[in-house]
């Protein structure tokens, strides 16, 4: 494995805004050991359960990765690198995956890491009693696990399962002994893995404290040095107030501010005393999917009008000083499989939007700003053209678009609801435009959102849009191993989605990170929501 200078590896989709002159590359320094790194996190990213086998959130897996290395990691350049597995291969049909494991690894409780441990972890995730909310479905229907030898394990599927690595990079490998001893309920307070830190303390709604594990052997490609982590302690503070979250690094209350809000841009951009990173998140972007089962969105012309009448960049300037990332289609513009045709297809064109609406029964009425129905099927005449915009956060985008839509005679009703309410609405299919975001550099998320076979309770295909050709393309994503082929299929799928105008792209949220210059080798992952602390150190 080729070692790289990870401190400088802010590759791929990373844009570094305002890297100051005071910050010098790590290469010029001699790393020191010890110290406490304090990171502030938004309080809404505090996990309910710290067991990533159960909890379905990115932040849980990220926090788990401090305690437990996974088999593989996704490096900043978007490639998979070894961690607890040294090498891996899949059969050409994608039905069988073999991992060769790193020798000489022990868990933090002293028990050995081996093929049986991997098997135990996979089985624990898949066991119904665990009621894993996400990883189980990401790892998929494993038919059989073979222990080839002490350090070789093979996962067999009956259907092709080409996205396994994306699941494994997030899967913490726990000590089977400890997991058994504490049981499903209690293990999350007593995590034991084979990672650089141990969980020392978790004061709910306040902080988590991780301590360096002296037995760690640098078993991760993200580590640039041998042996235990350099930091003696990592403290994560969960901050509920955004103003405090954003200011914490500047006020020297924390070394790193993670996942800040756009208001932080003004604080840190252009300040030489801080490093400020804005990282793209490959995924669907902040999209609103359309319910095409009922008026007014059952008419494609109304849907297209919604697309033509919007000006995402104007909203971006107004709300975020342009700091958000463009997202013009079902996959956002920083996604490796983004289809550029989406940008050209619906450039802001108010006249076009008005013409499309004029063709429908939604007519401009003298003296009224909002159009009214005149002979629209299933709608009483005189009904104003109202479209509901339901979201769980980023309400301001809807509010900014509200003003834009008024210009073409559409009244956007923006409502922000808590997550459970959103799911309740979705279950009843009671929405017009519904927020739906998935984040992954893999195009498989298109399958979850757009394949009509997931149009069922608990599934993510909410729009009611069913297209045989689209489903056929999306089905291939499970089995095509080549990244290029997958992207080509995904692009074709995106074109179909955009032609039918069944979703409204807005913007893509960057992950904003502020660092004090003394923080060295804080290594961001390929996606903004991931980082590695394996070799991080603090300048005196």
């Amino acid at each position: 494995m080729k070692r790289r200078d990870f401190a400088l590896a802010v590759g791929g989709m990373t844009a570094s805004i305002g890297t100051g002159t005071a910050w010098r590359p790590a290469a010029a320094q001699t790393p020191t050991s010890g110290g406490t790194l304090t990171i502030v996190f938004p309080a809404n990213q505090e996990p309910a359960s710290l067991d990533g086998h159960i909890d379905p959130f990115q932040s849980t897996w990220l926090l788990n990765s401090f305690v437990a290395d996974p088999l593989v990691v996704l490096d900043a350049d978007g490639t998979y690198k070894p961690a607890l597995a040294l090498a891996w291969e899949s059969t050409p049909d994608g039905k069988s995956w073999t991992f060769r494991l790193r020798p000489g690894v022990t868990f933090q409780d002293g028990t050995p890491f081996n093929a049986a441990a991997v098997k135990y972890n996979i089985e624990r995730i898949l066991a119904p009693a665990t009621s894993s909310k996400q990883l189980a479905s990401d790892i998929g229907p494993v038919a059989r696990i073979d222990l080839i030898d002490e350090l070789t394990v093979r996962l067999n599927y009956d259907t092709p399962w080409v996205t396994l690595l994306d699941a494994m990079r997030r899967t913490p490998i726990w000590s089977p002994t400890a997991a058994e001893r504490f049981g499903l309920q209690e293990f999350q307070r007593n995590l034991v893995g084979a990672g650089p830190f141990t969980l020392a303390e978790w004061v709910k709604n306040d902080r988590m404290v991780f301590r360096r594990w002296p037995g760690y052997g640098g078993w991760n490609a993200a580590a640039t040095h041998q042996g235990p982590a350099r930091l003696a302690q990592v403290t994560i503070r969960f901050i509920g107030e955004n103003a405090v979250l954003n200011e914490a690094v500047r006020a020297n209350a924390a070394n790193v501010g993670f996942s800040l809000t756009p208001a932080a841009i003004e604080i840190y951009r252009g300040r030489p005393n801080f490093r400020f990173l804005s990282l793209g998140q490959a995924g669907t972007g902040l999209q609103q999917v359309m319910n095409i089962r009922r008026p007014p969105l059952n008419d494609i012309r109304v849907r297209q009008a919604l697309l033509f009448a919007r000006d995402s960049q104007a909203a971006n300037q107004l709300l975020y000083d342009g700091a958000y990332i463009a997202s013009d289609g079902p996959l956002d513009n920083v996604h490796p499989c983004f289809w550029p045709g989406a940008t050209a297809m619906y450039r802001t064109d108010l006249d076009r939007a008005r013409r499309l609406l004029d063709e429908t029964g939604w007519r401009v009425v003298q003296g009224q700003q909002i159009r009214q129905a005149r002979g629209v099927a299933g709608v009483p005449d005189g009904t104003p053209l109202r479209v509901r915009w339901t979201t769980i956060h980023h309400r301001e985008i809807g509010e900014a678009l509200q003003a834009q839509y008024r210009r073409v005679g559409i009244e956007l009703q923006v409502e922000q609801v808590p997550g459970p309410i959103q799911l309740d609405r979705v279950n009843r299919r009671d929405f017009d435009l519904m927020f739906l975001r998935q984040r992954s550099p893999d195009p498989l998320i298109l399958d979850q959102v757009w394949n009509s076979r997931w149009d069922r309770p608990g599934g993510w295909a909410w729009t009611g849009f069913a297209n045989e050709r689209l489903d056929g393309l999306l089905n291939q994503l499970r089995s095509l191993p080549s990244a290029t082929d997958r992207c080509n299929v995904a692009r074709e799928a995106q074109q179909i989605i955009m032609e039918n105008a069944v979703m409204l792209p807005t913007l893509s949220q960057p992950v904003l990170v502020a660092l004090q210059p003394r923080v060295q080798e804080f290594k961001m992952g390929a996606e903004g929501n991931w980082f590695f602390l394996h070799s991080t150190w603090l300048q005196a």
Partner: protein
């Protein structure tokens, strides 16, 4: 005294019953199926048979009365059910955080008295002077300010601009100062107005005039008689003030990112975690009852007339 306490305890029984009925009733009149909420997030959806199984397991198929009796019975032995979001015992979730809320409320109370008492006394002694006007302006402002806004200004000033105190967390005494100050300032307004009026009343009474006439120094008079008598209405109001602290704590905990039951209940409401809402509300009202009971008993002990009047 024993009889008085027993009597007061007996009075609690119907109150507790009514509270439990209100909480249970409201929570069960709600739309949304807790079993379904619990299974949400499962990819591909929960199969209907699993849902039915869970409903059975959670006892949601029983008649409402049976469900209430089970809820009340379990609550009596300290079991408040299981949270939907955390999938763990509501009692544990509350107990993990209650210490922080209590710490905040008590230190807020101390702050309120430390600020409110001198403010009220000074205003009373210098009645109708500019000192009085100033003190009362502060008192009115404190009682009339949105607490979250005051808290944010405190953070801005003492954490960001001066860098003296941490802006968030519950890590040691330092991090308690700003939240306690914020919470205390709001109630200080109330206390100072109380103290002022009762001091003025006391100052006008005969025995104070007499002591002055006897040549005792002004300060001694004030301290020995004025303060002691002025404190009585404050003591009677402590229960009410504590209720205000509880209310204020919900907001203060949020502003200062402190763990606590107040924040827990707000999060539970927003995520429709009904068992957790139910448990928190029941728990907090019992705490409130117990505090008020303790205050009453203390008061009755201080002032025997109360016992016989009650």
């Amino acid at each position: 005294m024993g009889r008085y306490i027993a009597g007061r305890l007996m009075q609690l029984v119907p109150v507790l019953f009514l509270i439990s009925v209100i909480v249970f009733g409201v929570m069960h009149a709600l739309p949304g199926d807790p079993a379904q909420l619990m299974l949400q997030g499962a990819e591909g959806g929960a199969p209907p048979e699993r849902l039915e199984e869970l409903r059975e397991q959670m006892g949601l198929n029983d008649p409402l009365l049976v469900q209430y009796l089970r809820f009340a019975g379990n609550a009596l032995v300290g079991d408040l059910g299981e949270s939907i979001r955390f999938r763990t015992s509501v009692t544990n979730l509350i107990l993990e955080r209650f210490g922080y809320t209590l710490e905040l409320a008590l230190s807020g109370l101390v702050m309120a008295i430390l600020i409110g008492l001198p403010l009220g006394m000074v205003a009373a002694v210098r009645q109708n002077s500019w000192v009085d006007t100033l003190a009362m302006s502060v008192a009115y402002a404190g009682a009339s300010m949105p607490i979250f806004w005051f808290g944010l200004v405190m953070i801005l000033l003492f954490s960001f601009n001066l860098g003296w105190l941490p802006p968030a967390g519950a890590d040691g005494l330092q991090s308690l100062v700003l939240p306690a100050l914020t919470l205390g300032f709001v109630s200080a307004g109330l206390i100072s107005r109380l103290v002022r009026s009762s001091m003025i009343e006391v100052l006008g009474e005969d025995y104070i005039r007499t002591s002055r006439a006897k040549g005792l120094s002004e300060r001694l008079v004030l301290w020995r008689h004025g303060l002691k008598n002025a404190l009585i209405p404050v003591v009677t109001m402590i229960g009410l003030i504590f209720g205000g602290m509880l209310a204020g704590a919900v907001v203060t905990e949020t502003v200062f990112s402190r763990p606590g039951v107040g924040r827990l209940v707000v999060a539970a409401i927003l995520s429709k975690d009904y068992p957790l809402v139910q448990g928190c509300v029941l728990f907090l009202s019992v705490v409130y009852l117990v505090v008020n009971l303790a205050v009453d008993i203390l008061y009755a002990w201080l002032d025997p007339r109360i016992r016989y009047a009650a």
